[in-house]
């Protein structure tokens, strides 16, 4: 080697306060553009038996225009795309508030792999291991929620909410109370509560927050009555505030003959602290892909768990796993609503959730809750130091906070969404919050137990920096991103039927013809 002249000295200077991030940018074409006739990525065995002649009516006329690529090229394309994506493993993923982005231990993926080659209809005696695991996880979640039985069948939180509503409907029907056609929810409960209830045929009544940010109990009093089928509520709500009068809410609904259903998708801050059943709820659900650490997988596969009281247990989706002290069996509850999804559940995630709890135990779960809450309050403390950021309704928060940039937006014209996009230039991101934006210019942070103090400091420093950029050069922030895979997107065509291109095929037809 032939070292040139020296132009820099050791030691290396300390790192600047903000990470000089740039996301991988591969400028990849769309996969169809990588195709070349005759190539292929994997070979298929010859039939080894006489070919079947298909009748014209069912024979495909023209081959599908799928890409033709060799194996390395398929792999390379997707690996490049993967580098163009963030994930819990790569970033300080505290910004997808209510989504509980926590560490999903790598060893659990290995356990998930152990069920890859199990078929769901194998004879029960050949799957005693996985059945026992289902049973044990059910028992653990029953203990955590205080409920009598738990179904692990639903494929997500929303699917679990839907299953809960289906049980509520079946319960009332079984008692001849099918006239109950209203479901009450709150504006800061996840939209799926309202949406699933509506899909299940209910009229939805939404309670708005009161001056303290809690669902208005007077509005509840006004809403409950003989048409009330159920209350579907999150607590703490998306604001992060725990409703101290929750038992009263449940009581009011019970008095009116309705059921109380607890959206515990995210129970991260209260594990081992307080339980759904102890507050009187009849049903609840967990998102195993949140509180119980299964990975979010770009948006699923996920898993939901429905916990119910003794009274509701006969209505659970089937099958559930029973145990006679010796053998585990699949059983269908007496008045089951039937299937909410194929087979028993999203088994790889059931396995992961089980392993996660088993790595922590009771004490560990409590540490999870306490640390999640500590992290949240610490981050809030740091965020509220940023001029222009606020957290409506004071400082009482459990594991997440809905913040507002209202003041900053008024001052600078820069919106929350724009701040989030610019923040991603530093290798982190956030989600504003669900529509409608009851809190103006919202952003929602939930740091969970997985992140370190240093992470939280870094995250707050990034937001502080972007907020100050918004003041000094709002146009710069609005034109972000700069250091990510792509630049500012013009989204307008996506809402125009003449322009939109939901597949390459549509794009070619509409725009390249």
């Amino acid at each position: 080697m032939n070292p040139a002249e020296s132009f820099a000295k050791l030691p290396v200077a300390p790192k600047p306060p903000l990470r000089r991030f740039h996301q991988a940018r591969w400028d990849e074409p769309i996969i169809f553009e990588l195709s070349s006739p005759g190539r292929r990525g994997v070979a298929v065995p010859e039939p080894g038996a006489p070919a079947v002649e298909l009748p014209d009516a069912v024979r495909r006329a023209a081959p599908p225009k799928l890409p033709e690529m060799s194996q390395l090229h398929v792999l390379r394309h997707y690996l490049r795309l993967s580098q163009e994506n963030l994930g819990v493993d790569l970033n300080i993923d505290v910004g997808q508030g209510t989504c509980t982005m926590k560490y999903s231990p790598k060893v659990n993926d290995r356990f998930a792999g152990m069920v890859a080659e199990l078929h769901p209809l194998q004879p029960e005696e050949t799957v005693q291991g996985v059945l026992e695991l289902y049973w044990r996880l059910e028992r653990m979640l029953a203990e955590i929620s205080g409920m009598a039985r738990v179904s692990l069948q639903p494929g997500s939180g929303s699917a679990a909410i839907y299953a809960n509503i289906a049980m509520i409907r079946a319960y009332h029907a079984s008692r001849g109370e099918s006239h109950r056609d209203q479901v009450i929810t709150t504006m800061f409960s996840h939209p799926s509560n309202a949406a699933c209830a509506k899909t299940a045929g209910y009229e939805v009544i939404t309670l708005m927050p009161d001056a303290e940010g809690l669902p208005d109990i007077e509005a509840l009093r006004a809403a409950v009555g003989p048409r009330t089928a159920a209350l579907m509520i999150t607590n703490p709500e998306d604001t992060g505030i725990f409703n101290p009068r929750i038992q009263e809410f449940v009581g009011l609904v019970h008095e009116a003959g309705g059921l109380a259903c607890y959206d515990q998708a995210n129970a991260n801050g209260i594990l081992g602290i307080t339980r759904a059943r102890d507050a009187g709820f009849d049903l609840c659900h967990f998102n195993l892909h949140k509180t119980f650490s299964t990975p979010h997988a770009c948006g699923g596969p996920a898993a939901g768990a429905c916990g119910v009281s003794e009274e509701l247990a006969p209505f659970l989706p089937g099958p559930v796993v029973g145990f006679d002290g010796e053998t585990y069996r699949l059983e269908t509850p007496a008045a089951s609503i039937g299937k909410v999804r194929p087979f028993l559940g999203v088994t790889p995630n059931i396995v992961r959730a089980y392993a996660w709890i088993m790595a922590l135990g009771a004490e560990g779960l409590r540490q999870v809750a306490e640390t999640a809450v500590l992290n949240n309050n610490y981050l809030m403390h740091r965020i509220l130091d940023i001029p222009g950021a606020s957290a409506p309704w004071g400082r009482r928060r459990v594991e997440q906070v809905r913040y507002s940039w209202q003041e900053l937006t008024e001052e600078t014209g820069v919106h929350s969404e724009e701040i989030g996009v610019r923040a991603a230039d530093f290798g982190v991101h956030y989600w504003t919050s669900h529509h409608p934006y009851v809190v103006p210019e919202p952003f929602t942070l939930e740091p969970t137990e997985s992140y370190s103090k240093e992470d939280l400091d870094e995250y707050a420093a990034i937001l502080a920096h972007v907020a100050s950029e918004a003041r000094s050069d709002p146009a710069f922030v609005k034109e972000a991103p700069y250091n990510q895979t792509v630049h500012k997107i013009d989204m307008t065509s996506l809402d125009d039927p003449a322009e939109w291109a939901p597949t390459w095929r549509a794009y070619v037809r509409k725009h390249l013809a």
């Binding site: 799928l66 033709e68 792999l75 725990f242």
Partner: protein
């Protein structure tokens, strides 16, 4: 010891953070939780395995008791299929960046948007349809939603459903459609196909599957499409995409909505945890308006030649309008969509044709081989991957096969067994099954 998953449980950091906040203890943050709701005891849970190696031992002990289809010869199907999963599919879906991401913006999660856009686009080619959703949970949900879409689109509330579907799926449809949609079953003809039904103007849709629950490929799709259309109804077809390299895409004979499960496209059986549902339509705005799922589309960026992505017609969704959106949307099965995309890209048109041909030929070979010993149902029909046989006793046959290390099939009833054959079953495997059936009977 500080738990490896909880960095700030370390007492020093914890104290430092509390001090920074000005809180005496974590208890302060729980002030809003009334005393009577507090659980004043530790949770009653099994003792944990904090050391990873101990957890591994425990899990291996527990799951090692199962005898998977990799340790037996399995002919189980009936909604979950043992197609071969190329290693690249697993490689891509186990990438941390995909596995642990969720719902970032189309900027910092550009990769996810592009991969899913490509998935729906490849499905579109296979289906010859221009609109395909980002996956919903599974084929059950896809069928339920497709039928609800048809009802909303037509403004009607009755659907005719082929009886040649699995009991489980019918159970799901009944529950899901229960509040406001009436489900009528169309009987199965002696040939194993849906019997061409009577219809009237009250129906929103005819729903059938091909291959159906008996593995029979439905041949009267065009007729049914015409029938439906003549009555102002839609034809909704459930199709397994793995068959579409050889079978005509339902759109080609007039289907308006096509739906199904993509587990066959590069996803392991996963004890039933490998499902994801697709729904496809033409690019017809009023029908597109009825999708509850997310749809991803190409959008331009500030920089020429750069592909951006975003949500198409987001306003449809419950994310946008809560109960005023279409059904609901949430976390579903995106990673399986990405995986299926990888599968389709690996296979290409030739691979999809060949896998179809191999499955057709081996299914027929298995039917012929078993026909020497038992009665094969619907022998005249074209079968894809599954067929039913009639036997003296399903339970006895399957128990006998099981003793020989074979999961022989799924019992549909006391005397009917459904046998599944894919490209993963060699001719020798099928011969082994036939020999074992003969021995067992």
């Amino acid at each position: 010891m500080t738990h490896p998953y909880i960095p700030n449980a370390e007492p020093g950091v914890r104290a430092e953070m509390l001090a920074a906040i000005g809180a005496a203890s974590v208890e302060e943050f729980y002030a809003d939780i009334p005393a009577e709701l507090r659980l004043n005891r530790p949770l009653d849970l099994p003792a944990p395995f904090v050391a990873e190696q101990d957890l591994v031992r425990h899990m291996e002990g527990l799951l090692g008791r199962d005898t998977g289809t990799d340790r037996a010869l399995s002919f189980l199907g009936h909604g979950c299929y043992p197609h071969y999963v190329p290693a690249v599919c697993d490689e891509v879906n186990s990438r941390s960046e995909f596995l642990t991401a969720y719902a970032g913006e189309p900027y910092e999660d550009h990769g996810r948007f592009q991969a899913l856009f490509e998935y729906v686009s490849m499905m579109g080619e296979l289906l010859e349809m221009d609109v395909v959703n980002v996956p919903t949970y599974d084929g059950f949900q896809a069928a339920g939603t497709a039928l609800r879409m048809a009802c909303r689109y037509t403004g009607r509330s009755k659907v005719l459903v082929s009886a040649a579907i699995t009991a489980d799926k019918l159970s799901k449809l009944r529950d899901f459609l229960a509040p406001d949609v009436e489900v009528t079953l169309a009987p199965v003809g002696r040939d194993g196909e849906i019997a061409v039904p009577g219809l009237d103007g009250s129906y929103a849709a005819i729903y059938l599957e091909t291959p159906n629950v008996y593995g029979v490929v439905e041949t009267r799709g065009r007729e049914l499409a015409d029938l439906a259309h003549a009555h102002g109804a839609l034809l909704v077809v459930g199709a397994d995409p793995i068959s579409l390299g050889v079978l005509a895409p339902p759109a080609s004979y007039g289907a308006d909505i096509v739906c199904g499960d993509i587990q066959s496209l590069g996803i392991h059986q996963n004890y039933g945890g490998g499902h994801a549902g697709y729904i496809a339509t033409h690019d017809h705005e009023p029908l597109v308006a009825e999708f509850p799922s997310r749809l991803f589309g190409i959008a331009p960026t500030k920089v020429p030649g750069e592909y951006g992505f975003g949500d198409v017609f987001y306003d449809r969704t419950s994310f946008a309008h809560r109960e005023d959106g279409k059904e609901w949307v949430g976390t579903a099965a995106a990673l399986w969509g990405i995986t299926a995309g990888v599968y389709l890209a690996l296979m290409g048109p030739q691979g999809m044709r060949e896998v179809g041909e191999t499955v057709l030929a081996r299914t027929r070979y298995a039917m012929d081989a078993l026909a020497r010993h038992v009665t094969v149902l619907h022998p005249g029909a074209v079968h894809f991957r599954e067929f039913a046989v009639e036997v003296p006793s399903s339970a006895a046959l399957l128990a006998g096969l099981r003793e020989r290390g074979i999961y022989g099939g799924v019992p549909l009833d006391g005397t009917t067994v459904l046998v599944c054959v894919t490209e993963r079953h060699s001719i020798a495997d099928i011969d082994r099954l036939a020999a074992a059936v003969q021995e067992t009977l």
